[in-house]
């Protein structure tokens, strides 16, 4: 039974701090961004209302926009698939239980401690030509030295791998506790009935954690769509724009060319894209809300 029934005054008071903060830092600036997206506002110049010009320019006359949208979606698919598979595999292995279990969990979630900047410092060094350890190992194995910093395909691959390294622990954190909470009786009963371990996985394990997996994937998709740091810190959107995703396109328009009108339009496109994907899943997300 609830402690307090329906007195509205104290309720509003209790909710006010959070919502005033969200109102001021999110809602007002976002709506202001929508207004700016209909202007040709540049820092230090008066705003002139230009109607839908920015959007027309983006959709009709900017192949770069479509390319960056395409790159964003491509990164999202590969990153989320990789993060999920790696995090899921790690959780499955660790859920078997080992000695020093706590230490193993700490090791698996260790990349959480690494900020994107530090991660890029490490990986740039490991991938450096000549003295980089990874390239050295590859040449020892007989491969020719890959040029991670100028070949667009290799940049795509390596950024995806680094992103998986950074984010797979977040998937692990969600799935591992879910695996542990599957009731052992259920598994035993199935085993007594003669279920093989493959059947056990598909008929007991997977259905029990379906919700968590879906939630993890949705969250990772949301975060992959807005990806900025993990790409910008490694390649600055390059080489030649090959890793320019929507966020980087937005950043360049706004903070390199100081074209705040265009930047705001891209921001709103990114926002709508995210919401289109999220709103249908809202029911699921309301039930569970994890992800760091």
């Amino acid at each position: 039974m609830p402690l307090i029934r329906s007195k509205h005054k104290p309720l509003y008071l209790l909710l006010s701090a959070s919502f005033i903060l969200l109102f001021l830092t999110f809602l007002v600036p976002t709506i202001w961004a929508l207004v700016l997206s209909f202007t040709n506002y540049r820092m230090g110049r008066p705003k002139v209302f230009v109607g839908l010009d920015n959007y027309v320019r983006i959709f009709r006359r900017s192949p770069e926009f479509w390319l960056s949208l395409y790159r964003t979606l491509l990164f999202t698919v590969f990153m989320v698939a990789g993060e999920f598979l790696v995090g899921f595999l790690f959780a499955l292995v660790l859920a078997r239980g080992f000695k020093l279990q706590k230490l193993l969990v700490a090791i698996v979630i260790a990349p959480i401690a690494v900020s994107p900047v530090v991660a890029m410092i490490i990986w740039k060094y490991l991938l450096a030509p000549n003295y980089g350890l990874i390239n050295y190992a590859l040449t020892m194995l007989g491969a020719s030295e890959p040029d991670w910093f100028t070949n667009p395909t290799l940049i795509f691959i390596i950024i995806t791998i680094i992103d998986i390294w950074i984010n797979a622990p977040f998937v692990f954190i969600m799935i591992y506790p879910a695996l542990l909470s599957i009731s052992p009786e259920l598994k035993e009963a199935a085993q007594i009935d003669g279920a093989s371990s493959i059947q056990l996985f598909f008929y007991i394990t997977l259905p029990s954690i379906k919700q968590v997996c879906l939630t993890a994937i949705i969250f990772r998709v949301i975060f992959a769509l807005r990806i900025f740091e993990n790409i910008w810190l490694f390649a600055r959107g390059g080489p030649g724009g090959a890793s320019r995703v929507l966020s980087i396109y937005l950043y360049e328009q706004a903070f390199t060319f100081w074209n705040f009108g265009m930047g705001s339009s891209i921001a709103w496109i990114l926002l709508v894209l995210t919401m289109v994907l999220v709103i249908p899943q809202l029911k699921l997300l309301l039930g569970s809300y994890e992800s760091i």
Partner: protein, 276 residues
């Protein structure tokens, strides 16, 4: 029997792979920060060279700014954690202890939608405003922004810990003439320290690592460690790896300690949700 041994060997090989994948890059960094600078560019790469503090000395000599960044990061992280806890406590209390009316469910939905929101959207409207108000390069701005990013997750995490405290405890206090506010402070709050810690830790991990907003909204006074690290990485005359590794290692240490000691909060907070 033989099949079982095979599976065991396979699992342990996987385990070794997992450990290498997760830990090798971090260990490589820490090791490199203690290597003499001539070893860092050696070919073939030297895995087991001598150890020295040379890089840390160079760092202090050439990059005093990094220590300012560290200090700012500490201040901003502690500030965001404290402010988030203060702001989420009342909202979480309402979510946990009030009757489930439309207001409550709608606000929860709004919080979750806020979490979906790409923060980069607000950089453009904020930039000119903060500039004209002379608020660029201000610790408080970053603290408020980081808090806003975590209000949503913080409130919902805190709520699930409140839910775990039996309501009867507060009710009996109320019967004995205790006020609701007092019952909150002497009963619910002390029994929810784990939740408060969890929220603080979640925000701290985020604030310590955040780059984009710190990069856009600080220049010198409030510059955070990740921003200085980025500056060192993108140097005009090539990267000097030695001091950069030393700085990266220093940046890694506090948060690693936090994560090792708070592992149970991080993994358990998910566990708690699951039990519902």
């Amino acid at each position: 029997m033989r099949r079982r041994t095979k599976t065991t060997i396979f699992v342990y090989m996987l385990l070794i792979g997992i450990i290498l994948w997760s830990l090798f890059p971090i260990l490589a960094l820490v090791k490199a920060s203690f290597s003499p600078s001539r070893d860092l560019l050696a070919y073939p790469p030297k895995l087991f060279g001598s150890l020295t503090f040379e890089n840390f000395r160079t760092l202090s000599k050439d990059w005093g700014k990094f220590y300012i960044g560290m200090l700012n990061s500490v201040l901003i992280t502690l500030g965001s954690a404290t402010l988030t806890i203060i702001i989420t406590l009342p909202t979480a209390y309402a979510f946990s202890r009030f009757a489930r009316t439309k207001i409550i469910t709608n606000s929860a939905a709004m919080l979750i939608i806020a979490r979906m929101f790409p923060p980069i959207v607000i950089t453009i409207p904020l930039y000119p405003v903060l500039n004209s108000l002379n608020l660029v390069d201000n610790h408080v701005v970053l603290i408020v922004l980081y808090t806003a990013f975590y209000v949503s997750l913080g409130t919902l995490t805190m709520k699930s810990y409140f839910d775990n405290v039996p309501i009867e405890l507060e009710e009996s206090a109320l019967i004995e003439g205790c006020s609701k506010i007092k019952a909150f402070f002497i009963i619910l709050l002390p029994l929810s320290t784990t939740g408060i810690m969890s929220v603080g830790i979640l925000v701290s991990i985020f604030a310590w690592k955040e780059f984009l907003f710190a990069f856009l909204f600080t220049t010198s006074l409030a510059v955070t460690a990740p921003v200085v690290l980025n500056e060192m990485l993108g140097g005009m005359f090539g990267v000097s790896w030695g001091p950069l590794f030393a700085a990266a290692t220093i940046h890694l240490v506090p948060i690693s300690i936090l994560i090792v000691f708070s592992q149970r909060f991080i993994v358990d907070s998910k566990m708690l949700v699951r039990e519902k």
